[in-house]
Amino acid sequence: MTSLPQGSSSRKLGLVIDLDTCVGCHACVVSCKEWNTGGYGSALSDQDPYGADVSGAWLNRVHTFEVIPEGGEVIGEAGEARIVHFPKSCLHCEDAPCVTVCPTGASYKRAEDGIVLVDEDKCIGCGLCAWACAYGAREMDLAAGVMKKCTLCVDRIYNDTFEEVDRVPACVRTCPANARHFGDLGDPHSDVSKLVAERGGFDLMPEQGNRPVNKYLPPRPRTALAGAAALKPGQPEEESTEGATGFLRWLDVALDRI
């Protein structure tokens, strides 16, 4: 049934992704592909896997963005200019448009925990759900002809044969920077909910009206070098490092901080 579940339970399992600590290593991307190609549903195929034009279905991808404040070009010297690594997978939206557009009932949102899944035996591969998703969370598997998406590792998180520590999505388990967190975002007292409240977690594209469950934590504000390198009170004038730029300014600030 592709209508969204009504009066569902308050559990909303999802991810919280910390854009401050993500180092863009793509370990979550690889670990996701590795787990899910042998897990739920058909394998995640690649086309021309060893050729020059390789492409395939991935459920989690890391994009990298530059953020440039007005007037700022060089990172750290003007405003908050920075590079942000941006992991993106299904956000398991509460008003998931990918679910309601599905003509066959293959796409569905689970009432008990809010996970959005595809029943591959019912999928006709029309691709409309991918068109309906603003986040690019769904990719067609060209070998099986069915739509693939993040399952929140539904075959790990409820797996009693796993150690407790392994009952989290593969991407969360593998992240070396601890930038990915898994939990119940419907429970205001859960660790992930507290993290979102503390750090000002936000929704992606709220204007699309999908009410995503996954939340993103903003990069922490950094101290601009210009502000940090000012003369300290009581310091002799001739020791002023004002006017230093680039590496020397960074060195100056770094030594100040030690």
């Binding site: 557009v101 594209m205 204007e207 009206g209 903003p218």
Partner: protein
Amino acid sequence: MHPAYSVIFFTVVSGMGYGLAFFLGIGLLDPATMAAKAAYLSALGMIGAGLISSTFHLKNPHRAWRAFSQWRSSWLSREGVMAILTFIPLTTNAALCVLFDIQSLPLGIAGTVGAAITVYSTAMIYASLRTVDAWHTRLTPACYLAFAALGGTLWTLFFDLLSTGSNALQLSLLSGAAIAGALALKLQWRARVHLQVPNSTPETATGLGHIGAVRLLERPHVNDNYLTREMGFRIARKHAAKLFRLHLIMAYLLPIIMVTLVLVGLTFAGFSAWYAVSAGLSLVFHTIGMFVERWLFFAEARHAVMNYYGG
């Protein structure tokens, strides 16, 4: 958006088929004539060919029957259900017309209503997507309905001229009105697209707008993927203005000239079956113009996900 030829063919051809079915249902052609029989078979042929073509873009077409199940939520499913339901009165009336020279008005009205709802459902598949700003408007179904009506009047006029021309004067006036109506709606649709401020931007897509302007530094992978191939189609943009002018000339200007010729002939020289040539040409031009329109409809449309892929 990637313009799949199967979907372009389906929406254009079955759209015209439903337009013809719409006017056949209200009895504009005399069912005793050969032209009416040919018209019924043409309508069924166009609708059937379009629907079969639409299954070609499915990766698992053998499961297509499942698409009739989710009519409560999905416009694609509603379209499928309505297409099948509309076949019932339409094929019955076609059989009555071909075999017994008659048609039933209640069945005809049912077919007319069904045809209109089917075309509306097709348009709503696109109009209901919040991810594509250009499509997400009531003008989209209005245009699809206007195009179906326009194609339908031109086909009906053509078949009427092939037989006795009993309704030719009214039908050519109706065609003129349909051309004007469709043109007005399409111009309004396109003006909206050009004035539009994108609903989503790289800033809202990443939530980093509070820091500054966001631009893509690196895509997740060097090569294209399903998403960039499907949503990132941009070949059309370079020639879009030229193609749109071609659409205007082929879909409206040449047909209105052809229809005017028929009208002038009917008014000053009386009926002649030769006018069907003019009406037939108007259909050829209009169909080409509609293929251009539909290709642009897909190829020009920008999808919100491209905010993550650098536009």
